[in-house]
Amino acid sequence: MKDKIFGVLQRVGRSFMLPIALLPVAGLLLGIGSSFTNPTTLETYGLTGIITEGGLLYTILDIMSKTGNAVFDNLALLFAMGVAIGMAKKEKEVAALSGAISYLIMNTAISALITAKGGVEAMAANTTTTTLGITTLQMGVFGGIIVGLGVAALHNRFYKIQLPQVLSFFGGTRFVPIVCSIVYLVVGVGMFYIWPVVQYGIAQLGQLVLESGYAGTWIYGIIERALIPFGLHHVFYMPFWQTELGGSLMIDGTLVQGAQNIFFAELASKTTEQFSVSATRFMSGKFPFMIFGLPAAAFAMYRTARPEKKKLVGGLLLSAALTSMLTGITEPLEFTFLFVAPIMYAVHCVLAGLSYMLMHIFNVGVGMTFSGGAIDLTLFGILQGNGKTNWIWIVIIGLVYAVVYYFVFYFMIKKFNYKTPGREADDEETKLYTRKDMEARKNAKTADGGFDRVSALILKGLGGAANISDIDCCATRLRITVKNSELVDDAPLKESGASGVIHKGNGIQVIYGPQVSVVKSHLEDFLDSGLADKIDELLDGNTQAAAAEQKTANKAESGTLYAHLTGKVVPLEQVEDEAFSAKVLGDGIAIEPTQGKLYAPCDGKVDMVFDTKHAVNLVSSTGCEILLHVGIDTVKLDGKFFEAHVSDGDNIKKGDLLISFDIDGIKNAGYKVTTPMIICNTDDYKSIKKTADGSISAGEKIIEIE
């Protein structure tokens, strides 16, 4: 169980990598852009002359800031899709679409309920936000993650679902967005009631912090870090930064409330001699671990990565470390180890909390626009002078933090063998692949304990797995692009249940009807199962096995059949009717008669005389099912020229006259009189051997069956 949870967490962690890879770039854009478009910053440093609103430089910075922000604003959506993609086993693009739609639906459901309740004003402060134009509850990345995980679970469960024929268009992958939408409508409604309770609890924690001094600062720091993965940190720290919870102070005759407001008021004031630590204690603690600690942790991860992977992960870790260092955006780094090593994240939270407390103790008064990177440190610490801010302590403690983080991370990764980036050993990957492989194999097997015969037939018809370059499907057709269209064989495709095959150059369309998306999913599973190379063996084996089974099951007695007419023996293959010559009806023999009298080839019973009297079905006393069919296509004569001497259910002896017919009449009417004798239950016998050639008289031995 523990291993299973751990395995899932590992996969979740990996699925985060796609959206995370985008964050460093977005972080740099946002960090640089927003720092230099902040009016307070510009005013403080006399940059208003160079960077003016509406000016070229300002506009460029503004674009940087806003585009970077677009990523962070929609981070939840990116996670909803990214996690769904990462966790989905197959048909990942469908999971992505479902993730996006589910995220929209969940938030819209919440939004509708907020409106019903009386709008944003009726909700507690700082608990709502606007995402993609939808006013909803502030759930941060957590909102996206629950969508991503849930959608992936639903997707893996339903992407191969088969619905009743009438609804089969909506089956398979098409069912996934539908079911996800409905589920997340319900989740949204549920969240509207559950989430505010969680938010309320967090707000209460804030109160606790305020009442407990240095220890309170420490707790504040721990909680702030611990809430990041759940997107709850805004609910928690914003009141400190923006409301009286973070303190109230008279500055230049104005009452200012909130830690960040106090800092910027002091920054703007000419009379400030030292920044109020009572306010900055909610901010300064970020600098040491963001500028020094986390980058050192990244270095530890780099050092512990497998040598051959170092180059690969080096890029990711370096950019994530730089982002944290410069802009104070830490998610790219934190998310690389949060899920693979939650304990390490817990340690990180404690150390981060300690950093806040140390800054408090050492009277460090450096504020920030939104996070604690080197840009903010420079602007609001170093350039303000050590006298006002004590910023030097950030560097001193930061250096200690770098050492501590490096060794703590290095030690923990080695000791617990955490799979941080670059440590997913190759054999691990292989093992993982094998497990997936096994699952796929399992899925490829059908209920009868054999294998997916339909998929095998399709593959055979398409000229093998190697001949396929692309598989897709529309409403009713499997659309395949093959490398060599000459290798395509329609017969196995038809055998697989296709109602038609269309060739257009290298594009092959196989028509299955509305259930085609299920056919496609099975085929893809089959391709992944590793059985694809062995289709011929499988199909042969299966046929043989099936045949053998049948032989033992309905083994019929051996016997001899005697000529049913006088005339000339014609091998069945030479009969001028495909239904007979291709042995569609069964194996047997034909006679070109010289006399118009059809005799019984054995003892038995008349099963049926055709209404048109041109053919008769017999069942021999040994269980052989025999069709005697006078002439070719003579069904059209509707009984003319034929006379039946027996009727349904009659017992017969070998040599009894069954039907007499007018050879010349039939010939003159334009039909052949070649008369096949077919063993309809050919499958029940091992061999059917003809024992005569050339001229034959009725009653002579003609076939040996075994």
Binding site: S499, A579, M608, V635
Partner: protein, 85 residues
């Protein structure tokens, strides 16, 4: 289990040749396929029985498919009937 009805349009009905082809088609599927005319039901893969049903033009038969691949089998048989009978 799936069931559908089909009215034979071929003027000669299910005589030897189409019966053989129908039986062959039915053998492609795991599912058991039966054809019912009036009160008589036959297993589709049994050629003799199928011919014995004596299905004529204008007769309506009921096809019943039951088994693992019944969707495919139903579609396959339906397509065969429409194309040939």
């Amino acid at each position: 289990m799936k069931t559908f009805e089909y009215t034979i349009k071929d003027e000669l009905g299910i005589h030897a040749r189409p019966a053989g082809m129908l039986a062959k088609t039915a053998k492609n599927y795991e599912s058991e396929i039966t054809i019912t005319k009036g009160e008589k039901s036959v297993v589709c893969t049994k050629l003799m029985a199928l011919m014995g049903l004596g299905v004529k033009c204008g007769d309506t038969v009921t096809v019943t498919v039951n088994g693992a691949d019944e969707d495919a089998a139903e579609a396959g048989i339906k397509a065969f009937l429409e194309e040939n009978l």
